[in-house]
């Protein structure tokens, strides 16, 4: 992503964003809530287009691709959504099999083995017949991960993969992200604000604030950074360059009714 500018209803989300995702590495994109981390993933998948600047995917500017070329590029990607985004009218097995049935002519016997293999990897082979409504949040996330990897994508995008997971599921997801990267060479982009978890798996990381990258490097380098923004984010402090409070009138005068009409 080079010098990307993007605004929603006139409100700038990105103003000169530069991010380079290296092939075969795990790239972490961190930042406070509302910095546009999910928007960044949507720019990569071609669901949104930058107002200016370049978003290159597999070596081509996504803005120059036709809709069929964007769909072809998406077939080489997998994405794990924050809430799983499982299709609620079909069961777990059919959810994982969905992209395979849509994009290949494989016989059902092969699809069955493929799906069960992926479900085994996330520890949910036994839940194949359950409906999404019967799953906990963590289980739904793991099924969504099995669906994201079932087509063996070259790039995996994770949108807040650690939110709301119990420690066991968190450990499993962390190991899976690392294993898939090491064993299959999958390029991963993990968008999250869980600094500690990301530090254990990321090869490179970017910290976003105010619509652009304020720090970049290995997680260990970020931890040693002198930048106030990085320090505030790493230590979780409310005081610092990133404002915790939404702009408001003076607290005392508002409480004491000075601005009441």
């Amino acid at each position: 992503m080079r010098d990307v500018h993007y605004a929603i209803d006139g409100r700038p989300i990105f103003a000169g964003l530069n991010i380079r995702v290296r092939r075969g590495l795990i790239t972490a994109v961190m930042g406070p809530s509302g910095t546009g981390k999910t928007t960044l993933l949507r720019l990569i998948t071609g669901q949104l287009f930058a107002d200016s600047g370049t978003v290159s995917v597999f070596g081509r500017d996504i803005a120059d691709l036709s809709s069929s070329e964007i769909y072809a590029a998406r077939r080489r990607m997998g994405m794990l959504f924050q809430n799983g985004a499982l299709l609620t009218d079909i069961n777990v097995f059919d959810n994982v099999a969905f992209p395979v049935r849509e994009h290949t002519d494989l016989p059902e016997s092969v699809i069955r083995k493929l799906v069960l293999t992926k479900l085994e990897a996330v520890g949910l082979r036994g839940a194949a017949e359950l409906m999404p409504g019967e799953l906990s949040g963590g289980m739904a996330r793991r099924v969504a991960l099995a669906r994201a990897i079932v087509m063996d994508p070259e790039v995996l995008l994770y949108d807040e993969p650690f939110v709301g997971l119990d420690p066991i599921s968190l450990g499993v997801i962390l190991r899976l992200i690392k294993q898939m990267n090491q064993a299959l060479g999958i390029t991963s982009v993990v968008v999250s604000h869980d600094v500690q978890e990301l530090a254990t798996i990321a090869d490179q990381s970017y910290l976003l604030s105010g619509g652009c990258v304020v720090a970049a490097g290995a997680p260990q380098e970020l931890a040693k950074s002198d930048s106030e923004t990085v320090h505030q984010f790493m230590t979780g402090s409310a005081e610092g360059p990133v404002k915790f409070h939404y702009p408001a009138p003076d607290y005392a005068s508002q409480l004491l009714g000075a601005d009441e009409k």
Partner: protein
């Protein structure tokens, strides 16, 4: 102030018409690829049609029974109570069947379509399909639209048959009109033109209601309130347009 308000309402109306027109073009393109998935369309015919069957049959029965009572009461004033079958058949085939079925269809199947698609949008299911390189227009919207268009005339036909049975039940069973007279009057009065009018109306109503329902779900705000408002809009717009189009089509068939 009021002229600004009027202009704003007009602009919003034009915007909505434009959005719906673009959606219709995309939907029709999606219908072509949806035809390759007949299983999805059959499932949606069941969802829109099969699940509306009970209320359609009950409503048809009571409508026919009311026609029987009212028809007998009015016709006997002119000594023409034997024409009850003719009255019931024409009223059901040309007006009550298509219109009442459409209104019930909008309330039952239309709202279900809008809320289902709206919730799919709110829970990122449509986005997930796009990322998996599956066009939600041909996988979600088009099968539901086609299912509605196919189900609506079938439901109207069932409504008519049950309605006629209801009129027969009251006229012949309760009020003592001769069975043979009832059916011979019906047979001689109803022509292919009347049947065609009913079929055309129910097809048009089915297409319009399904389009509104699918479009509202697709364009809804991805929040609980947004889906609720979209569902309400589906019922209101479908009902008003059904009655408006009924006038236009009735005039066209005269």
């Amino acid at each position: 102030m009021s002229s600004r308000l009027r202009r704003g309402t007009l602009l919003e109306g034009v915007r909505r018409f434009g959005v719906t027109s673009i959606f219709l073009v995309r939907l029709l393109a999606g219908c072509v690829s949806a035809l390759a998935r007949p299983g999805l369309i059959v499932a949606q015919i069941f969802n829109a049609g099969g699940r509306s069957l009970i209320i359609i049959m009950l409503s048809g029965l009571f409508t026919g029974m009311v026609l029987g009572l009212l028809g007998q009461d009015v016709l006997q004033r002119f000594g023409a109570e034997t024409a009850l079958g003719q009255l019931a058949a024409l009223a059901l085939l040309k007006q009550l069947g298509p219109v009442l079925t459409a209104l019930l269809f909008a309330g039952r199947a239309g709202t279900a379509l809008t809320s289902e698609i709206g919730l799919m949008k709110a829970t990122d299911q449509l986005t997930a399909m796009e990322v998996m390189a599956v066009d939600p227009m041909s996988y979600v919207a088009a099968p539901r639209f086609l299912g509605g268009v196919i189900a609506m005339p079938l439901l109207a036909a069932i409504f008519n048959v049950i309605g006629l049975f209801g009129a027969h039940l009251i006229g012949v069973g309760l009020l003592g009109i001769d069975r043979g007279t009832f059916w011979s009057q019906t047979q001689s009065a109803v022509g292919m033109h009347d049947v065609t009018e009913g079929i055309v109306k129910s097809l048009v109503f089915g297409a319009v209601i399904s389009l509104i329902a699918v479009n509202e779900g697709y364009q809804s705000e991805p929040t609980a309130e947004g889906v609720g408002l979209a569902t309400t809009r589906t019922v209101v717009a479908s009902s008003v347009l059904t009655l408006l189009l009924d006038y236009v089509l009735t005039a066209a068939f005269l």
